[in-house]
């Protein structure tokens, strides 16, 4: 049974032992599972989640103009003012950059101009890739708590952390409102649970099996913590018997060889799981040993 709440963008349904609020944001189906039979509360929480997700999407989407992301990307040479949230995101990206020795770089989005992972055999010309390399390099960016200064032609892309960050931010906001209620935030398979459910039950959630073409959903049981998947089995190029993954090495401008098709990591927080999954992809054939060394639960599809 599904009833339409006041806000037309969200949909609320009773799932037998919990409420499920659904909406669409960040180009993904989003759901909020609420371990409560209080319909008003569920509606309120879903509305809160929707607004928080939309706020983050509008602030950091690279497809919009006039937002924070656009303002920074068009401030080359002049510098742009930073708010506290954006500063924290940049600090996080900075940590990921140094922890990965430069493999995780939020300035590498410009490579999309050369690479179109549409399943075809159209590899970019080497010259085209080479021409983009001078526009990549997080180390060339200066920032402090108030301002960011980027060289001419540089762009930031929050795509690698934005959705996972939004999942955590929504989970945090909901948990602040109802700390004793367990909730699961799921934005297209990136998941965060706020706290353990009543009666020690697990949340059961169907997520698209990244290994297949979406025909089978896999059922996942999750009790606490976060979960994120990186990689996309459908985004690749194929030429002369070689499969080119969409995971690009920002130093060479070329796809990482032997990268898994997708990596799923379970960790305390969704954003941390997401970074670990992405770093694992960047390790190519060493993805398994990398995640084993980190001591995190993971699933790798090759």
């Amino acid at each position: 049974m599904s009833q339409t709440p006041d806000l037309p963008e969200i949909e609320l349904s009773w799932q037998g032992d919990h409420y499920c609020g659904r909406f669409s944001a960040m180009a993904s189906p989003c759901e909020l599972l609420i371990d409560s039979n209080d319909r008003k509360l569920a509606e309120h929480l879903t509305t809160l989640a929707f607004y928080e997700a939309k706020r983050i999407e509008h602030k950091y989407s690279r497809y919009l103009t006039g937002n924070t992301c656009h303002r920074i990307n068009h401030s080359a040479g002049k510098g742009a003012a930073l708010d506290e949230e954006t500063y924290k995101l940049l600090c996080f990206a900075d940590s990921c950059f140094s922890l990965s020795d430069g493999l995780f770089d939020i300035t590498s989005g410009v490579l999309r101009r050369a690479w179109k992972f549409d399943g075809s055999d159209r590899l970019p010309a080497p010259q085209q890739v080479k021409s983009l390399l001078p526009l990549i390099g997080w180390q060339k960016i200066e920032f402090d708590a108030n301002r960011i200064l980027m060289p001419e032609g540089f762009e930031l892309d929050f795509g690698g952390i934005g959705k996972e960050y939004a999942v955590d931010a929504v989970a945090k906001k909901c948990a602040e409102l109802v700390p004793h209620c367990s909730m699961l935030v799921n934005f297209g398979g990136d998941i965060q649970v706020t706290r353990a459910r009543r009666n020690k039950q697990c949340w059961h959630i169907g997520i698209e099996n990244p290994d297949s073409d979406g025909r089978a959903n896999r059922l996942l049981r999750i009790a606490h913590g976060g979960l994120a998947t990186s990689g996309d089995a459908r985004r690749f190029l194929y030429k002369d018997g070689v499969r080119y993954s969409h995971i690009l090495n920002p130093k060479t401008g070329y796809p990482v060889s032997h990268a898994p098709r997708s990596v799923t990591v379970a960790s305390e927080h969704c954003v941390q799981a997401g970074i670990l999954a992405t770093l694992a992809l960047l390790q190519g054939k060493n993805a398994e040993s990398f995640l084993t060394q980190q001591g995190v639960t993971h699933w790798i599809y090759r």
């Binding site: 032992d17 600090c91 960790s267």
Partner: protein, 432 residues
């Protein structure tokens, strides 16, 4: 590459995550997914009307060391006192029995089921189990068990391998366990079918002691148990999980109960003699177990059925159902109903007829006879902060032994040879 030099980046990453999300810094100190120790304590009272009373204390601890590396340990201490049925039949007149130790006697009034009231024991059990993933999709678990009471020692080891399929929706497991039990009862083990000597039949204490000693074997005896278990667990949908197990148990060794006897009666039903029982020294048992758990709108329904059959001809059926109903977010009640039915062992004899020869094996222990039993219970639980839980359970248990078809000669027709056993259980548990 620096990543390979700094093998473990998760600590630094956790710190970065916490400052991004503004979560407390505690997470920085425990970057792994390890969870704190969890403890379960329980105290159980079990009281049969006019028979055994037991008090049991349980303390168990488990810890997830991260990544599903789990240790669990348990200490159980039982104190049992009271009387238990000896296997002898009631008689129209008072009966005298020699105590199992050979020191002293006890009287049973006319019409009463003979109970040995010297039953008194303290048992300590220790269990330890370690479980961890072995490689992708495999889990291995291994454990030890030790149980010690005054005249009994049991030691066991087990190992289990489980594999997840189908994105962890299907789990197949295989397990093996081996147990070694040693028994050394006070007064020694009786010689099979030896006649119980009574002091009044002998002129002197010495003559009686010699006669008693002649019915006893010296030293301990033991038994070996090998169990094999195959299991299949399947997630059916978001609400339903189903489990199917098959178990094979092979026991070899001393399975006679040194405290049980049989009455030898004449055609009038009057006891002529009392013989110590004798059971086969091997037993092979198969069991099949099926369980379904279903998540309801506000609770969990749990239904299970077990069938066992063995080469002693004991077949049993157990139906068990629990319905957990959440009263509020933080409390629940759980009614429990269990029904049990078993057929008698092929060597079960409520008594032996004096005119007939001795069978190869015989026991009058009602526990290997035909019976039905049921349990009715109710549990109330309260969920406290931080995953703590306090619960109370009360149950009523009744065992109804039945005559599997033996003709009752003479006076036995007027006596209750198959008295019901009624018991009450009360338990308080606290998890923290």
């Amino acid at each position: 590459m620096q990543l390979n030099q700094r093998n473990n980046i998760i600590g630094a990453l956790t710190a970065a995550t916490c400052s991004l999300l503004g979560t407390p810094a505690i997470a920085q100190e425990s970057p792994s997914t390890a969870e704190p120790w969890q403890f379960d304590t329980a105290i159980l009272y079990y009281g049969e009307s006019e028979r055994v009373t037991a008090v049991e204390g349980v303390f168990s601890a488990s810890k997830d060391f991260g990544n599903e590396h789990i240790f669990s340990g348990k200490i159980t201490i039982d104190g049992l006192t009271g009387a238990s049925a000896t296997g002898a039949v009631a008689q129209p007149s008072a009966q005298t029995f020699t105590r199992p130790s050979g020191k002293g006697e006890y009287q049973i009034a006319a019409g009463e089921t003979p109970l040995d009231d010297t039953f008194r024991d303290t048992r300590i059990q220790l269990n330890g189990q370690w479980t961890q993933p072995l490689w992708q999709d495999y889990r291995v678990s291994s454990g030890v068990h030790l149980s010690k009471e005054y005249d009994y020692l049991s030691m066991a080891v087990n190992a289990n391998l489980a594999r997840d399929f189908n994105q962890r929706n299907t789990t197949v497991s295989a397990g093996l366990s081996y147990a070694f039990d040693s028994i050394d009862p006070e007064g020694g083990r009786p010689v099979a079918f030896a006649s119980m000597p009574l002091r009044s039949d002998y002129a002197t204490d010495q003559a009686f002691d010699d006669a008693f000693d002649a019915t006893r074997l010296s030293g301990s005896d033991d038994k070996n148990t090998l169990d094999l278990m195959l299991g299949l667990t399947q997630v059916i949908n978001r609400r339903t999980i189903m489990q199917l197990n098959y178990g094979l148990s092979v026991v070899d060794g001393y399975m006679t109960d040194p405290f049980k006897m049989l009455s030898v009666v004449n055609p009038q039903g009057l006891t002529q003699d009392l013989l110590y029982e004798n059971r086969p020294d091997s037993r092979t048992r198969h069991n099949v177990f099926w369980q379904t758990k279903y998540a309801l709108d506000s609770g969990v329904a749990d239904l299970s059925y077990r069938f066992t059959t063995d080469d002693w001809d004991i077949d049993s059926h157990t139906l068990d159902s629990r319905l957990r109903f959440n009263l509020t977010q933080d409390s629940y009640i759980q009614p429990h109903f269990r029904y049990y039915q078993q057929s008698a062992a092929d060597f079960y004899r409520p008594y032996l007829m004096a005119a007939e020869g001795l069978p190869q094996f015989a026991s009058a222990d009602y526990r290997v006879g035909e019976m039905t039993a049921f349990t009715l219970g109710l549990k109330y639980g309260m969920l406290l902060d931080d995953g703590k839980e306090l619960s109370f359970r009360i149950e009523y248990y009744q065992q109804n032994p039945k005559n599997p078809g033996f003709a009752e000669p003479g006076v036995l027709q007027d006596l209750d040879l198959y008295p019901s056993v009624k018991a009450v259980m009360a338990q308080v548990s606290y998890r923290f």
